[in-house]
């Protein structure tokens, strides 16, 4: 069994400048290891390259240098299953909820005989049992994002990438989704790499928090959150952690912008 689900070593990424002349470095020699089965968050300000990092891991964005390995539980480098929950649901609106999940199952070459069982299991898990035949546009934004989470979980990924999945929702819905996500993960436990700009969200959800600075992106702080689950969103220990991190964050950001 491999001990790390994701190993990133010396990753570099450059983008062309908006003027078209020259390039600027988004990510510079970034190294990171995510242990199998852990819930890791990367926190950083908007535009720091968090989404770019996830896209490189997912293989939809090329990298300029360095190594990125995603390993399946049995240690194979190729064929690791990657689930992705994007900021917006990115559902296929012309397919029913059920068929959206089956799309991912078919894409991953998962045997047809297990489809119905998986659809039922994961829709139930995200609280959408009974919505199988509905079309996405008939559902609320929060429910659509739940479908996207069920789709990503249904392929039973080796790593689940989540890119600010609750940032497009209103705060009340987002809060409910976070608590529900905790419950879901008691039943399905893939390795998770969660990207967010909210320290509170990161400390509430994760076991490992990585803090990222801007231009170029690098990780300046790693923190373990040892508070056992289930956690309460109002747990004072979480507030204390968050307060400490905010202080450090601004110290580093001020250095960066000086």
């Amino acid at each position: 069994m491999a001990s790390h689900a994701v190993v990133i070593d010396g990753l570099c990424k450059k983008f062309p400048t908006p003027s078209g002349q020259g390039e600027f470095t988004v990510i510079e020699s970034l190294s990171l290891q995510i242990a199998c089965g852990s819930f890791a968050s990367i926190v950083g300000p908007s535009g720091c390259g968090k989404s770019t990092l996830l896209n490189i891991i997912a293989g939809i964005e090329p990298r300029d240098a360095g190594e990125v390995r995603v390993q399946s539980q049995d240690g194979a480098h190729s064929g690791a299953r990657i689930g992705y929950v994007f900021q917006s649901p990115r559902l296929l609106n012309w397919l029913t909820v059920e068929d959206n999940i089956k799309f991912a199952l078919e894409a991953q070459n998962i045997g047809r005989s297990s489809w119905d069982e998986r659809v039922a299991k994961y829709l139930h898990m995200v609280g959408l049992a009974g919505q199988e035949r509905n079309f996405p546009l008939k559902l609320s934004g929060g429910m659509q994002q739940r479908v996207a989470i069920a789709r990503a979980l249904a392929i039973e990924p080796d790593i689940l990438l989540m890119d600010e999945p609750f940032s497009h929702l209103d705060e009340i819905t987002a809060r409910k989704m976070r608590v529900d996500l905790m419950q879901i993960l008691e039943h399905a436990r893939p390795t998770i790499l969660f990207v967010t700009h909210s320290l509170r969200e990161a400390v509430f959800l994760s076991e490992e928090v990585y803090m990222m600075s801007v231009k170029p992106a690098r990780i300046f702080k790693h923190l373990r959150v040892d508070i056992p689950r289930p956690r309460e969103p109002e747990d004072p220990r979480l507030f204390d952690l968050e307060k400490g991190l905010v202080k450090e964050f601004f110290a580093v950001l001020e250095q960066d912008f000086r």
């Binding site: 939809i60 990115r90 012309w94 078919e106 894409a107 546009l137």
Partner: protein
């Protein structure tokens, strides 16, 4: 369904008005030059009561469908690769412009010169005139493909064929249907013109025959008959099909 709808009143009144004016004007002319609506209706009924008419209409319909299917298939294919591949775009760009700007009537005559009196002439003419419209339309559609969804499909490792069926083609459906409507309307008009010069049988040939006999009433009757058929195909085939394909959209408010 309600039988009386207030919003339909103006349309109903204008139809009645037209029929009255038409009847009035027709009193001053010979029935073969400008028939009254009632006389025209009689002619249409007499056309449909002869078995031979169905053979004639069937022949024309056959050519319309062949031309339509060919231009939709070829046009969609060309439009699709043009939208997805830059190099192909510039390759076909000039050809599309040539086809769009070349006079349609030239194709109709040329086809008769080249292919003689056959099925090929009208089908050839339809394809050359309709294909560029289809290609342009699908090209627009292919350029508007949602990159976020394509990325999603890539992350989940959707194979090419699955991507085509479930991600790409559904996004093109609105463009495919608008192309189909334009093509259908164009195809049968082109078919009639082409048949008038270059066919031994067909609705266009009938029109030419009655034109040479200076029988305006029969020309109108054939035109109206064919129009009725086309309206029926639109209402009974195209519209229900379209509604079914787009049933996933929330009802417009």
């Amino acid at each position: 369904m309600k039988l009386f709808r207030p919003e339909a009143v103006p349309g109903f009144l204008s139809a009645i008005g037209l029929l009255l004016v038409w009847t009035g004007v027709s009193l001053f002319f010979l029935p073969t030059f400008l028939p009254s609506p009632l006389a025209l209706l009689n002619q249409v009924i007499s056309i449909f009561s002869h078995a031979a008419a169905y053979l004639v209409i069937g022949k024309t319909l056959e050519r319309v469908l062949a031309g339509l299917v060919l231009s939709m298939l070829l046009g969609s294919l060309i439009g699709l690769v043009m939208g997805l591949r830059r190099s192909v775009e510039s390759f076909f760009d000039g050809w599309i412009m040539v086809l769009l700007t070349f006079p349609s009537i030239c194709w109709a005559f040329l086809a008769v010169l080249w292919f003689g009196l056959s099925d090929i002439a009208p089908i050839f003419t339809i394809v050359l005139i309709v294909l560029p419209y289809v290609a342009m339309n699908i090209w627009e559609g292919a350029k508007a493909i949602d990159k976020d969804l394509s990325d999603m499909a890539t992350v989940f490792r959707a194979p090419r064929f699955l991507f085509l069926r479930k991600v790409l083609i559904p996004q093109l459906m609105p463009y495919i249907f608008s192309s189909l409507r334009i093509s259908f309307a164009l195809s049968w008009k082109i078919a009639l013109v082409s048949e008038a010069f270059g066919a031994s049988r067909g609705v266009g040939k009938e029109l030419m025959y009655w034109f040479q006999g200076t029988r305006a009433d029969m020309m109108l009757a054939w035109g109206a008959s064919f129009m009725l058929l086309m309206v029926a195909i639109d209402a009974l085939v195209l519209r229900p099909w379209e509604n079914r394909v787009f049933s996933w959209r929330p009802a417009a408010v």
